[in-house]
Amino acid sequence: MSGISFGQYYPARSLLHRLDPRIKIILTLLYIICSFMCKNIISYALLLFSAIILVIIGRVPVRIILKGLKGVLFILLFTAVLNIFWTTGDSLLWQWKFISIYAEGLYAALFIMIRISVLIIGTGMLLTYTTTPIALTNAIEDLLSPLKKLHVPVHSFAMMMTIALRFIPTLSEECERIMTAQKARGADFSSGGLIQRAKALIPVLIPLFVSAFNRAGDLATAMECRCYNGGEGRTRMNVRHLRFVDFIPLIVIIAFGAGLITLNILGIGYTA
C-alpha cells in the first residue's frame, strides 16, 4: 500500500512543473475559455497543436496522456456518433434509408472530439500532472484569499484539504489492515450479490470510522499543542514571489486567445 499515489501527479523536471501553481490555475481557466472560442477548422487545428506543445513542454509521457484519455473514450465516441448522425446541413454526403450523413456532421464530430480531448490534456498538463495536490491546495488558498474579507473560511477549507490528503494513505492502510483482520475471522468480501457485498463491508467501515474519529481527536490536540489557532497571523515557510517570467505564459495565452478571436472575425476555412 506504500506505493499508493493520489491524484495524477507525474514527477518530472519541466517548465510546467516549475511554474507557479497560482499562475497555472489562471492559465487553465483561460485555456478552457480559449477552447470554447474556437469556431473554425484553423483554430481547432491551432488548439490541438497547443495541446501537443503543452505535452512536450511538460515532459509527461504520451502513454500517460493516452491513459487519461481512455477514461473518456466512451464520452468521446458517443458525442462523435451523435454529432455525425444528428447534424443536418447543406452538403449531403451519404444516405441510406433514414440515415443521412452531412459534411457538417463530420466536422461537428471532429470539433467536439478535439475540444474534449484538448480540455482533458490541457487541464491535465497545466494542473494535475504537473502540480502536487498540496501545491494546488496552497495555490487555491492564495487565489481565494480575497474572499476572506467576505468571511469565507478559505484557510479552514485549505487546511481540511491538506489534512485529507495527509490521511488518505494512513486510512487506506488502516482499511486494508481491518479487512485482513475481518477476513481472518471468516468475513467474505468477494462473493454474493451487490447488496451482500455492501453488507459485508459494514464490519470494515465501523472500525474505520471509529479509528478515524480517534485520529481526528488526537490530531486536533496535537495541532493545538503546536499553537494552531486558525489562519489568523499565520505565515508560510515557502512563499513564492511572482517574478516577471511567471507572467510570460499569461501573455502567451492571452495572445493565443486574441489570435483565435481574429480567426473568428476573418472567418477563414470551414466555420461551424
Binding site: 495527509r166 494512513t170 488526537d218 493545538e224 499543542c225 505565515t235 508560510r236 515557510m237
Partner: protein, 287 residues
C-alpha cells in the same frame, strides 16, 4: 536555582463521565521540576500519568490544585489566549501515535507547521526547520511524505517539529509505546540529545522501566498518587513497592538484587546493563 520551572501543588483530577468507579485519576499530587531536569513519570495503565500530561498541556483543567509553569499559573481562570499560546510554545508535547500528530503531507512542511502558526517570518522558518531536521538526523528525508517513514522516523519528525519552536520543556507522552525496538532507540537517543545538548527540560511519561532508567529522576505514580520520587537507583531499590504498583524493575537490576540475596557482595548502584556488567566484573576481580 531558586524557583522551580514547573510546580505542581496538590493536583487532583476527576473524570466526570467516570460512572463506574468514582476514584479520581489524580489525587493530591505535588511535584517540583527544575530547569534542565530529565524526569520520567512511571506508572502502569490507569495510574494517572497521561492525565498528568494532559493537565500540563492545558488540554484538561484540574478539579483541584495548581500548576505553575515558568512563574505562570496555568490553572488560573484569568489566563488569556496569548498566555496559552506562549505557554504551549514553552512546553512542547510529543504524543504516542506517530501518525496522528503529523499534519502536513511533506516532512519539512510538518516541521514548519508550529512556526507558521506562530507567525514567524519565512526565512527564519526555513533556517529553523533545516536546523531541527539536521539535529534529529532527518534532513535527508525533508521532502518525503510522512507515511513512507518508519515509526521511529515519524516520531523524530514530530520531535523536530516541537524543537523548531524552541521550547524550554518537552513532554513525551508514551512516545515510544507504539514503536519497534529500533524506533524506540532512535527516539530515546533524540530525547537524551535534546536534554543533554539543548538543555531542554524533559518529562517522559512511560511504562518501560529501562527507559525510565535513562532519566535523572523517576516519579512513580500509582492510582493517581505519588508512590516514589527519586533517582533511578533509589527507585529500583524499592522492588516490593514497584511490584505492588504493577511495575517490574529492569532485568539487570533484578539480577543484581538476586545475586545480593544469595550472598554475593556487589557494591554500587545498578540502573542499566553497563552498571550491571561493571558490578559483576568488579566482584569477579575481587574473588
Amino acid at each position: 536555582m531558586s524557583e522551580p520551572f514547573i510546580k505542581i501543588e496538590n493536583l487532583s483530577y476527576l473524570y466526570e463521565d467516570d460512572s463506574v468507579d468514582n476514584s479520581p485519576a489524580l489525587e493530591g499530587l505535588s511535584l517540583e521540576i527544575t530547569k534542565g531536569e530529565f524526569v520520567a513519570v512511571l506508572g502502569h495503565n490507569g495510574s494517572g500519568k497521561s492525565t498528568l500530561a494532559k493537565l500540563l498541556n492545558m488540554i484538561l483543567t484540574p478539579t483541584k490544585g495548581k500548576i505553575i509553569i515558568d512563574g505562570k499559573d496555568i490553572t488560573s481562570e484569568a489566563l488569556s489566549d496569548d498566555d496559552v499560546l506562549s505557554l504551549r510554545r514553552t512546553v512542547g508535547m510529543v504524543f504516542q501515535n506517530p501518525d496522528n500528530q503529523l499534519v502536513a503531507t511533506i516532512v519539512e512542511d510538518d516541521v514548519a507547521f508550529g512556526l507558521e502558526n506562530l507567525g514567524i517570518p519565512s526565512d527564519e522558518i526555513r533556517r529553523r526547520v533545516d536546523e531541527a531536521l539536521s539535529d534529529f538526523g532527518m534532513l535527508e528525508y525533508a521532502k518525503h511524505e510522512p507515511h513512507r517513514l518508519s515509526g521511529g522516523q515519524k516520531q523524530r519528525v514530530a520531535i523536530a517539529g516541537v524543537m523548531a519552536m524552541r521550547p524550554e520543556c518537552v513532554i513525551f507522552d508514551e512516545s515510544t509505546a507504539m514503536l519497534d525496538p529500533l524506533g524506540r532507540k532512535e527516539v530515546l537517543d533524540s530525547i537524551l540529545k535534546l536534554n543533554r545538548e539543548k538543555q531542554v527540560t524533559v518529562i517522559m511519561i512511560t511504562h518501560y522501566m529501562d527507559e525510565a532508567a535513562l532519566a535523572d529522576r523517576i516519579v512513580v505514580l500509582n492510582d493517581g498518587k505519588m508512590l516514589i520520587d527519586g533517582t533511578p537507583s533509589e527507585v529500583f531499590e524499592k522492588e516490593r513497592m514497584l511490584l505492588d504498583a504493577g511495575l517490574a524493575i529492569p532485568q539487570c537490576t533484578e539480577l543484581v538484587h538476586r545475586l545480593r540475596d544469595s550472598g554475593i557482595v556487589l557494591d554500587g548502584d545498578c540502573v542499566d546493563l553497563d552498571d550491571c556488567v561493571e558490578l559483576i566484573a568488579n566482584s569477579i576481580k575481587i574473588i
